[in-house]
Each structure stands twice: as C-alpha cells, then as structure tokens.
Symmetry: C2
Subunit: 344 residues, 2 copies
C-alpha cells in the first residue's frame, strides 16, 4: 500500500478518534437509568441484578454473548390483549373483503354472524367458529399478499378503548427492557401463540425485533409458480406447530435451537416456556406480567382475586408456581411508573 | 456525574483512540484478497461484484443490512458429500449402540445388514431401509442426549478416503466466502436437507454459523418431565418439513421469514432455493458448485458428461437452468486454487 494512502487512513483515524472523544464525553453526561418507566421495586431489581451477573466478565454466572437468548410472549406481555387479541380483530375485520371475493360465504356461519356486526352474537362464537374464521382469513393467499394486507391494516386500525393504533399499545417498560437486554448483548425473541407470519409484519418497527426472531404458531406454505413461471409461496391451512403451552419450548427448540436464559410471559400459555428456561441451570430470569391496573390498562386474573376473563387469564395456580419456582411477578400497578408512551 | 469520572472516561477515550490509530495502520498494511483460495475467474468476479453493488451506499442495487441474507446448502456445497452424506454415516455407526440398548433389533432388517458390516450389502439398502435407520437413530431420545452423542461422534469419526475428521473436509474457498459475506454485513445461513438438529451441533465451530441460523429437515419434539419434575424435550419421529427441493424455500420462509439475496447449492435439491432467491428482484447471486475435480475431491454429474452418482447428482437439466437464469456455476477444478485447508 502506498504511503500516501496510509497517511490518508491515519488522517481518518484521527478524525475518528476525535469523535470517539466527543461521544464518550456526551455519553458520560447522558448516563441515565435504562429503565425509567419502572418503579424501584423487586421486579426492576431482579432485572438489573440478572443482567449484571450474566454480563460481568469473571462473574460465576457469566453467560457468553452467543448464549444470551431472551424470549417474550407478545399478547398481554408486550402489548394489550384486551378485550380481544389484535390478530383476532384483524381476522374479523378481514371477513367483509373475504366475502366480497367469495360471495357464497355471506350465507354461511360463522361468516354471517361476523358480517351482521352484532357484537353480542360475535362474542358468543365458539372456538371452532373462530378457527374457521382464522383459517379463511390467514391462509389460501400468497405470503406477499398476506404481508401487504397486514401491513396496511396494522397501520390504520384502531383499538376501541384507547382510539389508537394497536402498535401504540405496547408497554413502555417492556420496550425499555427489550432495549436494555439488547444493549447488554441479549438477542431478543418474540415467542407468541399468535401467527408467526402476522407478528413478523410489524415486529421490526414495533419492537426492534427482526422477522427471523419471531417464533409463533406456524402454518405450512406451498411453493409454486405463477403463470409467468415466477415462483411464490402460498399460505397453507396445515398447522405445523401450535406455539402455546408445551408448544412454546418446542417452538423455541425448532426456531432457535438453544434454551433461553430469560423468559417473560403473562398467562398459563407461557408456563412451559418459563419452566424450560428456569430448568437450564446458572442464572435464569423468569417473569410474569400481572394485569392489576384497571385504571391505566385492565385488571384480570383470576390470580390474586382479580376478575376472570376469557383472554389471557392469569390463574392462581400459575401465581403459586411463580412463588414456588422463583419467577418474579410484575405488578403493572406497582412496578410500572408509566404503562404507555402516550401517557402524560 | 462527578468531573473526576468524566476525566477518567476521557482518559479511556484517549487510550482507545491510540488503539484505533494502531489498528488502522496495521489493517492498511494487511489489506489483502479476502478470497485467496479462488482463482481469478468468472465465479470470483461474480461474488466480488455482487458484494460491491449490494453494500455500497448510494448504489442503485444497495441492500440494507437487515435484508442481507445468504443461504448455503451444506452437503456438496460447504463440505464433501461423497461417498455418503456424513449424517448417514453417523446413523449407520450408531446402529451397534442402538442394538445394544434394544437387542431384538439385531435380528430385524435393515439393522441386521448394518451390523454385519458387509459394505456391499449396505450399499444396496433401499431408501425405505435407510429411513428406518434414520428414524431409529435420530429420534426417541432427549435433545440433550442427542446433542451429546453427535458432539462426541463428530469429534472422533474419520472419513475413509482422507482419513480426517469430517469437519476438516469443508471447502476452504467456501469458508472464505462465508467470512467475506459476514464481513460485509451478510447473515449467513445453512439450508440443508440434512437434519437441522444434527448440523446445529457443529455449525458454530465448523462454519461460524450459530444454531439459530441452521435451517434443515425438521422433526417435532415433545415436551415432558423427568421423574424429578425437570422438563426436557424428546426428539419425535414426526416430520415437520423435508428441507429439500420445494421444502428449501418453504423452510427459509418458516425459519427466516425473508427471501435471501444470495444462495449457494450443488444439486437438484437446491433448485427451488436458487429460483426463489433469484426471483426477488434487485441484485441477486445464485451459485452452483460443480464437482469436476476427481484428483483433489470427486467428479460427478451427470452434468457436463461427468459420471452419474446416487449422492448429490448435478444434472444436465440443472446446468441448463443455471445458464438460462443467470446462476453462476463454480468449477472446483478451475475456480478453486485450494480445496481444503489441509492441502499443501
């Protein structure tokens, strides 16, 4: 390499060194609490202590960077799940377009009820009816079409209580936690009972989690060619894995191939993921979000005497297991200073 | 923050700046060809040109870092697949231990033939027989036991021709290519017809590819508890996805959720992965390794008049498709200066 190029590079290095200096001074001044929306209680302390022991070189509980895997349930853990899972709202709102494409469906249940708009009748739909709606609205189209549909919907649909896009209903303390873990070398994953392809559409912009780090309920796809010979994938109704309960550790093994060292959930569907994480030995963090704040969000159990609901029930049995196995329960009411970014 | 801590940090920054200078000078001197085992021919030129246009800011074919996905077949693309896939060798060599655990198998085919050690008889085993052996040796045990078994085997087993561990039979030019792509912000994945769990055991140490970036033929697992109540996963015989042919793009969608921009293969089992990659628009790199070097490795086709074989056949139809669709064929004989790291 000619010496004038070396000189040029040294010039570059000096400029870079200058910026390193500036940045160091700036960051020293700006050094602040990475979890400002958390009250200083046992939940926050458990998080900070866990990160410290697993990332400090020489600590007996040090976890090498490649093994720093943290998994998060989505509905009720990262964002609001009441009164209905967002994905179910999507499927219900897709029904008119579906019927327009296939008019005979208008006279067939459960599509007829959904089209009527009768909320009371819709609330009474059975799980089997819901499954029919999910299969009809989530499969049978190409992966690219599906992505485009969800992208448009999620950008425009609003939650009925907060009158805001669903993507604004993420919990600020959990967003801070995701960033804090990533800043400490953790790879953050969503492990959701929701559809893997659905969540992948907005996971990067909403949570900073790329599609390849979303584990969810998985359907098969079918490879084929269009009339011009161009290959594409179609979403198939065949279920590959129901990513709930035992399906969560199974899905984690399938998609990640390593056991997480930290896991976060809020309902019995997350029990096995938390057990599996905790059983790994060494430092492990298992946390459950308890929805006990009816004023700022919702309050439901039946754990701790909160009213039972259909969606995301936090049972007393789960609460007892948490106490017994050393999982930390996060009280939204007591542990979270702010719940949403839009809160004053 | 007290000013003495700021001063301390500034001190740190000055030390860091000094190292930045040193490193810059050293790297300017050491700047060398990232692909030294490649001859300067069309294959190498295609790779370098592709990386340049996709990673240069302002280039019309610039690919943002998060979309830089490159997928590699394993057998015959990253390492030797002759005379038999390494994983099949593992399964055959596992049979004695299997029969020891379940003695009645000794009298049942195809286990009887494998135990006999009669190579000629073993070569005649049908695909159905092989599937029985694979199912018996790859499933029915816990994920942890399986990982330990494979880890021990891969560290000690030797290839019959080269008398070296299989993990030394990786192609040096492809190892350089993996590193070159990663150095340019590409996330490298293995997409193999082999067992996902099998390849994951050695992928990190052999290729620098972590387990979560291995896509392969996938079996289900079953979550359960041991007698002490400790949860574990068992490998189940249920097949979730055969990661060959159309299964490759389907597996890529399932595991990654994005279309690759570069893909590398060597046989008809990789055809759909290459088509799918190429169909994405923008700059795309699709490459096929042609085994035409009997002296240093093997020569087999039947493409280009090379002798046909059972394992990894590169057909003339695939060769013709490569020409037609602009995939680059890598001639091991002409494009690779060195094939193995152990070569003199």
């Amino acid at each position: 390499m000619p010496s004038n190029r070396i000189a040029f590079r040294i010039g570059h290095a000096v400029v870079l060194a200058f910026y390193v200096l500036l940045f160091t001074i700036a960051s020293a001044r700006a050094e602040t609490d990475p979890l400002p929306s958390w009250n200083d209680g046992p939940a926050k302390q458990a998080i900070v202590a866990f990160v410290k022991v697993t990332t400090t070189q020489g600590s007996p509980k040090f976890v090498p960077p490649e093994a720093r895997i943290a998994t998060f349930d989505q509905d009720g853990t990262l964002w609001v799940e009441h009164p209905m899972y967002t994905q179910v709202m999507y499927c219900l709102e897709r029904v008119p377009a579906l019927v327009k494409a296939k008019p005979p469906l208008a006279k067939i249940e459960p599509f007829k009820t959904v089209l009527s708009g009768d909320r009371e009748a819709m609330a009474k739909l059975s799980l089997k009816d819901l499954e029919k709606i999910l299969a009809a609205t989530l499969t049978g189209i190409s992966v690219d079409e599906f992505n485009a549909e969800v992208k448009t919907w999620i950008a425009t649909a609003n939650d009925s209580r907060f009158k805001r896009p669903y993507t604004e209903l993420t919990y600020l303390p959990m967003q801070e936690l995701l960033k804090y873990l990533r800043a400490n070398g953790y790879k953050t994953y969503i492990v959701t009972g929701g559809g893997q392809d659905f969540v992948r559409v907005y996971s990067e912009t909403t949570y900073g989690i790329p599609p390849e780090q979303v584990v969810g309920t998985m359907g098969a796809t079918k490879y084929g060619y269009d009339k011009n010979g161009k290959p594409f994938l179609t979403k198939d109704p065949k279920l590959l894995l129901n990513d709930n309960n035992a399906g969560k550790p199974e899905g984690i093994h399938l998609m990640i191939g390593r056991r997480p060292v930290a896991a976060f959930g809020n309902s019995p569907g997350d029990q096995q993921m938390l057990e599996y994480t905790k059983a790994g030995g060494g430092a492990r963090l298992a946390m459950l979000v308890l929805h006990d704040d009816a004023k700022r969000e919702y309050a439901y159990g039946p754990a701790q005497g909160l009213p039972a609901t259909k969606v995301g029930a936090f049972t007393q049995a789960l609460y007892d297991q948490a106490q017994k196995q050393g999982w930390t329960v996060i009280s939204m009411k007591n542990d979270w200073k702010r719940i949403f970014a839009f809160e004053k």
